[in-house]
Symmetry: C2
C-alpha cells in the first residue's frame, strides 16, 4: 500500500480514485460479505447485508484511509477502522429512517419499509454492535485499540445527541444559528472528525497531530452539511442524488431557513414561519415562494461563504500537520471535491 | 472489600445481602447519577436516568461481583463491568418494550409509553453506547479490557439474535423445544454467562476457569427462564411481581406450552393451538383451560425437573472451579435463591 501511495502522489486524483476503488470500496464489500456469511437469523442479518451492500459514497472509510495513508500507517489495519465507521454510519441511517418515517434512501426502500420497524430497530442495534467488534479485531498496540475505541464510542454518543437535537428542533419554536451549528456538529461533523482522529491514532500520530485531524473533520463536516443545505434548494437533481427541496417540503429548519428568518422583513418572516408550521400541500408553490425569499435575501451566497470559511479552517489545520507536504495532496483533493459536489 | 468478603464467609447469606446492598445496589445508583449528571439533551438522557434508577433485581451486576469476589479480583474495577452489563440489560428492555408494545415494566410506564418511540429508540442506542464506555474506564491490564470487551460485544450480539428468534416465533407455526432452548439461551442465558466470564477475566482466572463460569451462567440462565415460565402460570402474584398468565394472554410459546403441545391428545392439541392462534378475549376462561391442560399433562413438575437439571449442571461447573470451597458459598446461595423465587 505504501508503494502504491507514493506512486499515487505523482498522478494525483484520478489514479488515487482507482486505488480507492480497488483498495477501499471493493474490499469493504468483500469484507462485509465475509463477516455476514452464514449468520442467523435471516431477519436480523439480511437487513444489515442489504444496507451495507448499498455502497453510497463510502466517505467515512475514505477519511480513515486518507488520514492513515497521509501519516504512514498500515492500510490493512485501517480497513478495520474504516469498516467500523461505515457500519456505525449505516446503523444511524437505519434508525434515523424509522424516526423520520423515510421510505426511500439511495433510491431503495429503507429497512423499516422493506421489513418492519421492529426488524429495523433490532438489525440497527446488531449493526452498531458489529461495528464495535471490528475495532476489537485490530492487531496493533493494545493502548491504540483502546484509544480508538474511546474516540469511536464518544463519536457514537454525540451522534445520538445530535439526532435528538434534530428531533427536538422539529417542535422547538425558536432555533438559533448557534444551536443549529451545534446540532450539525454532533450529527454530522463528529463522525468525520472521529474517522480522521482514529486514523491518526492508528498511524501513531502524537496528540497535537491527532487534534489537528480531529479539527479538520469537524470543520469539513460542518462545511459538508452547509453545502448539503444549499444543494437541497439549488442543486440540479442528477448530481445531488436527492429530491430538490426535500428540506423545504419536510419543514426542516436548515441553515438557509434560519439565516433567512433572521434577515427577513416582517412580511417575509410571517410567510416563512407560516409555511414551515404546517404540512406541505402544494409543494411547487411552497418551493417557489421559499426560494424566492432566499434569493431576495442573498442567502445562497452567504451560505456559500460560510462553506468556504469552514473549508479554509479545515485546510489551515491540514497545513499545521507535521508531515511532508506532498503527502497532503490526495486528502486536500478530497476536501475540495467534497464541498463542490455539483461540479 | 476483601476483608469484608472474608468476614462475610462466617455469616453467609444475610450478611452478604447487606454488603451487596451497600456495595452494589446503592453504589450502582450513585455511579449512574454521576455519569449522567449535566448530560444534554434532556430528551435523550432523562429516559436513561429514569430506566437506570428503577432498581429491579440488579441480578447481572450481582453475578459480575460474585464471580470477581469468588476469584479474588478488585471490587472497584468489577463495579465498572457490573455497570456495563446492567446498562446493556436496560438498553435491551427499552428496545424490547417498543417491539412488544409493552406499556408497563416494573410497575411504571415504559420509555416509549412515557415519552415516545423515537425517544425510546434513540435513548436505548445511547445507553448501549454508554454501557460500552464503562469498560473503557477500566484501570487494568489492556489485554483484560479487550478480552472483556470481546465477551461483552459477543454477548450483546447474541441477545439481539435471541430477540429476533423470539419475534420470529410469534408467526412461526412450529417451534421445537430445541429451538426454544436456543432462543432463551441467547435472549437470557448468554448475558448471565457474559457477566460471569467477564468477572473471571477481570479476576485473572485461566481459560478453563473462565469457561466453567461461562457454562455456569448459561445453565443458570436457562434454569432462570424455565422457572420464569413456570411462575407465569403458577406463581402467587406478589412474590413474582408480574401478572399471572401474562404469557398465556400474549400467546407466548413458552416451554410449558411447547411441552404440552408435544404431549397433548388430539383434542387438547386443537384446543391449545386454537387458543394461541388468536388474540385473547376472555382471559379468565383461557387461563383456566390452558392451566387445566398443563395440570392434566403434569407439565409443571416436568418443567421443575428441567429447572433442577440445569441448576445441577450449573452447580457441577461451580464444583470444578479451582478455588477454595468456602469462597463458593455466597454464589451457591444466590443460585439456589434465584430459581426458587417463590419461597
Amino acid at each position: 500500500m505504501h508503494a502504491q501511495l507514493s506512486r499515487c502522489q505523482y498522478k494525483p486524483f484520478l489514479y488515487f480514485c482507482r486505488i480507492q476503488k480497488r483498495r477501499t470500496v471493493n474490499t469493504l464489500e468483500q469484507e462485509f460479505q465475509q463477516i455476514l456469511a452464514h449468520k442467523q437469523p435471516d431477519n436480523l442479518y439480511q437487513p444489515i447485508f442489504y444496507t451495507l451492500m448499498q455502497s453510497g459514497k463510502r466517505l467515512r472509510p475514505k477519511l480513515v484511509h486518507l488520514a492513515v495513508e497521509m501519516l504512514g500507517g498500515d492500510a490493512d489495519e485501517a480497513q478495520k477502522v474504516a469498516m467500523a465507521f461505515e457500519m456505525l454510519h449505516n446503523f444511524t441511517l437505519i434508525h434515523d429512517d424509522i424516526m423520520d418515517v423515510a421510505p426511500i434512501r439511495r433510491g431503495k426502500d429503507t429497512v423499516y419499509k422493506k421489513w418492519n420497524s421492529n426488524i429495523a430497530i433490532l438489525s440497527g442495534d446488531a449493526l452498531a454492535i458489529m461495528a464495535f467488534q471490528q475495532l476489537l479485531r485490530l492487531n496493533c498496540d493494545k493502548q491504540v485499540i483502546i484509544d480508538i475505541a474511546k474516540v469511536f464510542s464518544q463519536t457514537s454518543l454525540e451522534i445520538c445527541e445530535g439526532q435528538q437535537y434534530d428531533l427536538d428542533f422539529e417542535t422547538q419554536q425558536v432555533v438559533t444559528i448557534d444551536e443549529y451549528l451545534n446540532m450539525i456538529c454532533k450529527k454530522t461533523a463528529v463522525m468525520f472528525a472521529g474517522c480522521m482522529k482514529s486514523g491518526a491514532i492508528l498511524a501513531g500520530a502524537d496528540e497535537q497531530n491527532q487534534q489537528y485531524l480531529y479539527n479538520m473533520g469537524i470543520n469539513l463536516g460542518i462545511a459538508f452539511q452547509l453545502a448539503d443545505d444549499v444543494l437541497d434548494v439549488y442543486a440540479s437533481t442528477p448530481a445531488f442524488g436527492k429530491t430538490i427541496g426535500g428540506d423545504i417540503r419536510d419543514n426542516k429548519k436548515t441553515y438557509l431557513y434560519l439565516m433567512a428568518l433572521q434577515q427577513a422583513n416582517p412580511e417575509q418572516k410571517i410567510t416563512l414561519e407560516d409555511l414551515f408550521a404546517r404540512p406541505t400541500t402544494d409543494f411547487e408553490q411552497k418551493y417557489k415562494i421559499v426560494r424566492g425569499i432566499y434569493d431576495d435575501l442573498n442567502i445562497k451566497s452567504q451560505t456559500d461563504e460560510q462553506v468556504r470559511k469552514y473549508v479554509n479552517l479545515c485546510l489551515q489545520d491540514l497545513d499545521k500537520i507535521q508531515v511532508a507536504e506532498e503527502r497532503k495532496t490526495t486528502i486536500k483533493e478530497l476536501i475540495l471535491k467534497l464541498i463542490d459536489r455539483e461540479k
